[in-house]
């Protein structure tokens, strides 16, 4: 198995380290600070063997500079990280994300983020350099539906 880089509509998703999807578990040992969000170029040169030996497998989704304006409905780049997608746009559930970067997009609201924040594996969230004006009460806590 190697590092997995998939493509949706020409945009790369970096699922890393190798075999990231489905291989991380809630009890997986984490070494705090030992990893960061990685860009696509870095992903291409990833040393799979070294990384597998050094740290547990993780799933990063780097959506930096994707011109994303809202998380409701979730951007298509997130589709591989969701399950139980219903016809109702608010019924989505995320899974197995450990790090998410939405840096330098066009978000004005964090609505939808609570679904991500409460993933049991999520460690790091980066929403810097957007246009977010307010953090609403529901953005940071679990909510059955986004109103």
């Amino acid at each position: 198995m190697g590092s997995q880089i998939s493509s949706i509509d020409g945009k790369e998703l970096f699922l890393a380290p190798l075999g990231g999807i489905g291989s991380s578990t809630p009890g997986a040992k984490r070494k705090s600070g030992s990893w960061t969000l990685k860009g696509h170029k870095q992903a291409a040169s990833y040393s799979a063997v070294e990384e597998q030996a050094q740290q547990p497998q993780r799933v990063f989704l780097d959506l930096t500079l994707q011109r994303i304006e809202t998380l409701i409905p979730p951007p298509k780049e997130m589709l591989p990280f969701m399950m139980d997608m219903s016809a109702h746009e608010q019924g989505f559930v995320f899974r197995y994300l450990e790090a998410l970067s939405l840096e330098s997009n066009k978000l004005k609201s964090l609505r939808g983020l609570e679904k991500v924040l409460h993933l049991p594996l999520l460690i790091e969230l980066n929403v810097s350099n957007n246009g977010v004006e307010i953090v609403e009460e529901g953005n940071l806590i679990s909510a059955p539906l986004i109103r």
């Binding site: 049991p120 929403v127 940071l140």
Partner: protein, 238 residues
């Protein structure tokens, strides 16, 4: 389910309000909210017991909640470029792991009260670009592990005698841009700076021969305003 998220970066947005539910993120260790428009912090922030790094630099904070004293894991607290006039008043044991405190570019007029209670761990203290007229020597003397002290661009007229007690730990002292008395800061180059320091501070030393103190002092000369001038550390040489 408790949120597992440990690091959140919301810097460089336009956020002006932090909801109290922030405290529900009880695994949070790092929170970067710099370069926003936050006006105040919720008192609940003190419940984030695992928080190690908190950055609210470049916001619009005018005050801090007392509960910040309860952030017992906090190591780096970045609050520069706000409108703070006072810092929280730490009691012994408060913020007991704080290593790095940045309060530069605020409106602080008086050296923060009881800051010496952080003296067991505080290594870097940045108070530059405020409005202080004097430093509290008694509080500084309690800072047993202080390595960097930055008080540039205040209204200081003198340095306290107690500064000499930091001789064994202080590596950087930035005092540029204050209002030292005429006989004091007239340095235009490194040599002048040394002479000034020698003339002024040698009197404060327990032993005038221990010029090692000078070696720990770093300033910026007027001729090299953008260069931090470091002096080699060798005991007995000024």
């Amino acid at each position: 389910m408790l949120a597992s998220v440990e690091r959140i970066n919301l810097s460089r947005n336009k956020i002006d309000y932090i909801p109290p539910s922030l405290a529900s993120l009880n695994n949070l260790t790092e929170l970067n909210m710099s370069n926003n428009e936050v006006l105040y912090l919720p008192n609940e922030i003190g419940r984030l017991k695992r928080l190690i790094y908190l950055n609210f630099s470049s916001n619009k904070l005018h005050a801090l909640p007392d509960s910040m004293n309860q952030l017992t894991s906090m190591k780096r607290l970045m609050l520069s470029n706000n409108y703070l006039e006072i810092f929280v008043n730490p009691k012994p044991g408060d913020l007991r792991n704080l290593v790095w405190l940045d309060l530069s570019w605020n409106k602080i007029k008086r050296f923060p009260l009881n800051l010496g209670n952080l003296g067991g761990t505080l290594e870097k203290l940045y108070l530059g670009h405020n409005e202080m007229k004097e430093l509290d020597g008694a509080e500084l003397k309690k800072m047993k592990v202080l390595r960097e002290l930055s008080v540039q661009h205040n209204y200081l007229k003198a340095l306290p005698k107690e500064l000499a007690s930091l001789v064994d730990t202080l590596v950087i002292l930035d005092i540029e841009g204050n209002k030292f008395r005429e006989r004091e800061y007239k340095a235009t180059n490194v040599s002048d700076l040394l002479m000034w320091l020698k003339g002024d501070l040698s009197l404060l030393l327990p032993s005038p021969q221990q010029y090692r103190f000078y070696n720990f002092l770093i300033g910026r000369s007027k001729s090299e305003p953008h260069r931090c001038v470091g002096l080699s550390t060798s005991q007995g040489q000024a």
